[in-house]
Amino acid sequence: MVKELVVIGGGPAGLAAALSARENGIEDILIIERDVQLGGILNQCIHNGFGLHTFKEELTGPEYAQRYIDLIHENNIDYVLNTIVTHISEDKVITLMSAKDGLYHISAKSIILAMGCRERPRGALNIPGKRPAGIYSAGTAQRLVNIEGRMIGKKVVILGSGDIGLIMARRMVLEGADVQLVAEIMPFSGGLTRNIVQCLDDYGIPLKLSHTVVDIQGDKRVESVTIAMVDKSLQPIPGTEKTYECDTLLLSCGLIPENELSHQLGISMNQVTTGAFVNESLETNVEGIFACGNVLHVHDLVDYVSEESKQAGQSASLYLKGLQNKEGKDIRIVTTDGVRYSVPSTLNVSRMQERQIIRFRVGRVYRDAYVSVYVDDTRIKHLRKRILTPGEMEQVLLRSDELHPFENIDQITIKIEEV
């Protein structure tokens, strides 16, 4: 079987990318999803707060996903469920596997990677202690509680203040558990401010910054965890240990983009995001293969996932129609002085859209600082920000007419400048 465009992953990224490709004239599209339904991780995010940017209203995760799923149906875009992609070859032959159809190949002219991410495990954090039952990653807990309707603990400590951890703190309280605290090793939270207010403050759950788990007790099930304060180099400070009796430890320690397939393809990967390097069209170094959503870099808001993925769909359609501009050169986007990475990581002026969004994250909290953009040595943007935090993705908008006056640009630099 040959397909014009194959989208791998039926989460918000894949759905938005497929829709946008259709809007841009691509007929022959297939979305491949390994789960029993479309919607990706949104299906287990039953709280509200989705869609404020996209739909100007507050939806739950499943509601947000449903808006897109409805559009997929209205547009008669093909998809297969319960089907996992196990391999992609460099010449874009995709291996699929499902109980219904067995093992088969599809050959694609273009591919959009939208596989989302998985959660980072305890080992990645090197938390010492015992290894009883009762230690869950927050997303696993979210699935058991929200989808199965089953409680996974009565007295809970949470490590990591990423959004999923914050959301689960509130969820556990709402379902009848006692959440003792959220500990965060960094001196700032990894989550959105609005989640700290709505999920912790409103429920009186303490957030202990610069604290981490130094021991886990319990042979069969968690019986207690010990938390200690850490110093500037993130090392526990002796004497600050405090032990909390609990039966559950939730870990919200970040996500790992699900890039097994990208590795097979020899796509060059960014060490910081662990996602692919992409240009302004969200195209990877392998021609005709695009990436968007959490598989590219971890997003906090699904609205931005949809926005980004729309662009991937557009780019794929230009590629398929042979309309991709081949002129110009890829200008490196350099990120320094507090900016950890950017997506895209290169930009071609003759190919870019009128308005190009550059998304990035900072490495620490900044107050009253500037986000500056330099074209070679010329500063073209100097945007004052009241606060910048690692937990919130930032973006700057570059218009093509801002870049046109420059000739032979060597690099574009994004950095934080403090007053």
Binding site: M97, R118, P121, A124, P128, E175, G176, E260
Partner: protein
Amino acid sequence: MYDIVVIGAGVIGCSIARELSRYNYHILVLDKNSDLCEGTSKANSGIVHAGYDAKQGSLMAKMNVLGNQLMPKLCEDLDVSFVNNGSLVLCFDKTQIECLEELKQRGISNGVKGLEILTKEEVLLKEPHLNHNVVAALYAPSGGIVCPFELTIALGENACSNGVTFQFNSEVIDIKKQELSYLIKTKTGDIKTSIVINAAGVHSDDIHNFVEQDKIKVIPRKGEYCLLDKECQNLVSHTIFQLPNEYGKGILVTPTVHGNIILGPTAVDIDDKENHQTTKQGLFEVLSKAGLSLIDVPTKQIITSFTGVRAHREAHEFLIEEAEHAAGFFDVAGIESPGLASSPAIGQYVANMVTTKYPTSKKENFISKRKRIPTLSELSFDEQTKLIKENPLYANIVCRCEMVSEGEIVEAIHRPLGATTVDGIKRRTRAGMGRCQAGFCLPKTIQILARELNKDISEITKTGEGSYYITGYNKEDI
């Protein structure tokens, strides 16, 4: 009434049970845990040592070298992953090269074949990621690696297929010597037997001391490890040891048969035999000492850490004999490293001891081979297609990291000595052993276990009683 009761379903108990199942004995294996391979056999380095370490003339040396020779064939028969990857003992100090020479001579007199001292250049040619401070190394081509759970479970399954009964959740709390038999008291009832084999690992002293007036003592000695992601596959291909020096025994770096890298173990004597705690100091020691062997330790790639407890005796020698004052009671005690490597030899040695003293006939229909659970990720496209046609459950991927399917998990539950716990599934199929450490597959594994065992998910545990996952229904405590 049994002819033989083996206490302990670790690699040693299972190996002995399998060897004895060649004969017409009525055999029971008892374990206090909910599954086999829940003790030391689940947390070790998985090295099939060549045999140059143990003291000349010791039983340990004999068992190690013989075990090393028997391992490839045993693993072939039982369809267990084994790789003869060879090992290197690194020396970082010119003045210590004679220690390498000593090690080599000891190896030769223990009967180890092919030992060779390599120059720095030769070592770095074999292993380019090693620290360039290395000055020489002892190369042992017969060193290997094996998956310790696969081996233990395969031995157990095969023993079971040959008529051995296994009983779990049965802690032995006392043993009474009777006139011509033993009465084994467990938490779940009494068991009568003619012969007792004590293969209780770190608790082998307790079991011995129940019946024997000459007491023994096992010192639990803890070892901590870090496990690295498969992305680090190419870091080393041989097992890399460090020559013991003033800083102690050194930390090894080795690939596992499944393509991960392990770093460890530390060696600290502890009081509590069940203390499987990892510590900050331990993990720090592992990483810093591994840094002596490697140019760079990829600490960002750690996916888990764990602890094993060795059954150390002061004599540092295996105790394998019939108790002096208790006929029919056989000790297989203090089986510390290289216990895993020695396990095939210990099985035969003990079976030989028992059959010589208490002879019986051989079974005619002994099944010597066993097949592993079909492993999707190891198969070719055509083989996968065939497997999925026969059983479509093999197309449902449950563990994304290790590509383990529902078919494999269901098979793990229903084969002889099938899994009843999440850890049991993990050790039989690798579901949950990959880079996300079961974050993705845990809910599904729990559900499959519940469905196949006709239980509610609240009855599914990690490692047996008390290690439950589900505490109730949403909102029931409000």
